[in-house]
Subunit: 196 residues, 2 copies
C-alpha cells in the first residue's frame, strides 16, 4: 500500500500550484494534463479539483503566481543608483522570461484567447512593472502622452523579449542595456523641454 | 417581388468581403452576425456560405483584406525625402488604426485566440511593414540583434497605437513624430559604431 502524505490545506494548494506553474511554463495550455499533475503530486484528480475546480481556474491561479514572481524579480535594490536599479529590474525581467519561455510566449502572443481574467492579470502586471520602473526612474506624475509612450515601451519590451528567446540574437546584458536606453529616451521625448 | 441584382462571381465576393470588413471593423467577432451580413448584401445566407463556407473563413478573408489595405497605406511616395517617406508611412498606419479601431484592437490584443492562420497574416503584415519602413530608411541587411530591436519597435508601435485610440492622449502628428524618432534611435543603437 502506497502511503499518501497528508498535507494541510495551504501547503497542499501551494504544492499543486507550484507543479502547475512548472507544467504551464514548459507546455502549452492544451498540452498540460490535469491527470499527470495529480499523479505527480500523488493526489487524486478529485482532490486536485477540490483545490482548483477546473483546469482553467488552475491556469488562472498559475498566471497570477507567475505574475507575482515576475514583479518580485523586477523589484530593485534601493541601495543602487537609480540607473542601476532600472537595469537590474530589466535584467530580472529578462531572466524570468528566459526561465519561463514557453509560458511567456503563449501568454503574450495572442495568449490564452478571450479569457478576460487572464488579460486583466497581464495588464495589471504591466502597470505594476511600469510603476516599479518609473518609481526608480524618479518620475513623478505622467501626462497622458507620456503614459501612451510608456505603454508603447512595454510593448517593445514584450515584443523584443519574444523575439529574443526565440532567436537568441544577443546577450541578456545587451538587451537589458537597449531596453534601459530606450526607456530613458522614451521618457525624455514625453517630457516638455524647458525653454532655452 | 423583390428584384435580386445578379452579380458575377468576383464582384459578389468582393461586395460580401467589403461588407464583412466594415462589420468586423466596428464589432467584435462574436457580435458580427452572418444573417445580418447576408441581409445587407441582399443575398441568402446560403449564397454567402457559397462564397465563404464559414464565419471563420469570412473573418480570415477580411483580416487578409485589411492587412492589404494597411500595407497600401504604409507604402510611401518615392518622390519624398527618406525621412518624410517613413513619416508618411507611419501617418498612414495610424490613420488606418483610427479608422479600424475595433478590428485593430481585437486583432492585436490577444486577437482571435488560437487561430494560426490569423496569427500568420498578422506576423506577415508586421514583416512587410518593417520591410517598407526599412527600405525607405535606406537600411541594407540587418544583423540578428537589429532584427530583434526592430521587432521590439513594431511592438511599441502596436502597444502605443492601442493605448492612443483608447485615450487619444496626443495628436496623430505627435505620435507619428515619436514613432519616427524611436525607429531612428532604435536603428542607431543596433548599428555598430565606427571607430573614432
Amino acid at each position: 500500500m502506497r502511503r499518501r502524505k497528508r498535507l494541510e490545506l495551504p501547503e497542499r494548494r501551494e504544492q499543486l500550484l507550484q507543479l502547475a506553474v512548472q507544467a504551464f511554463s514548459s507546455k502549452s495550455y492544451d498540452e498540460v494534463s490535469v491527470d499527470d499533475l495529480a499523479q505527480s503530486a500523488g493526489v487524486s484528480k478529485g482532490l486536485l479539483y477540490h483545490y482548483f475546480p477546473s483546469k482553467r481556474e488552475l491556469y488562472v491561479a498559475t498566471v497570477r503566481t507567475a505574475a507575482e514572481q515576475l514583479i518580485e524579480r523586477v523589484l530593485p535594490d534601493p541601495t543602487l543608483s537609480l540607473r542601476d536599479q532600472i537595469a537590474r529590474g530589466l535584467d530580472g525581467y529578462l531572466s524570468f522570461v528566459e526561465q519561463n519561455a514557453a509560458a511567456y510566449t503563449s501568454l503574450i502572443q495572442s495568449g490564452i484567447g478571450h479569457d478576460d481574467e487572464v488579460l486583466s492579470i497581464i495588464d495589471n502586471t504591466r502597470v505594476r512593472f511600469v510603476g516599479v520602473m518609473l518609481e526608480r526612474g524618479g518620475q513623478g506624475m505622467l501626462n497622458p502622452a507620456q503614459q501612451t509612450l510608456l505603454r508603447g515601451w512595454v510593448g517593445m519590451v514584450e515584443a523584443a523579449s519574444l523575439d529574443w528567446i526565440k532567436r537568441r540574437s544577443m546577450t541578456r546584458e545587451e538587451l537589458t542595456k537597449f531596453m534601459l536606453k530606450s526607456l530613458l529616451y522614451t521618457l525624455s521625448l514625453g517630457i516638455p523641454k524647458p525653454a532655452k
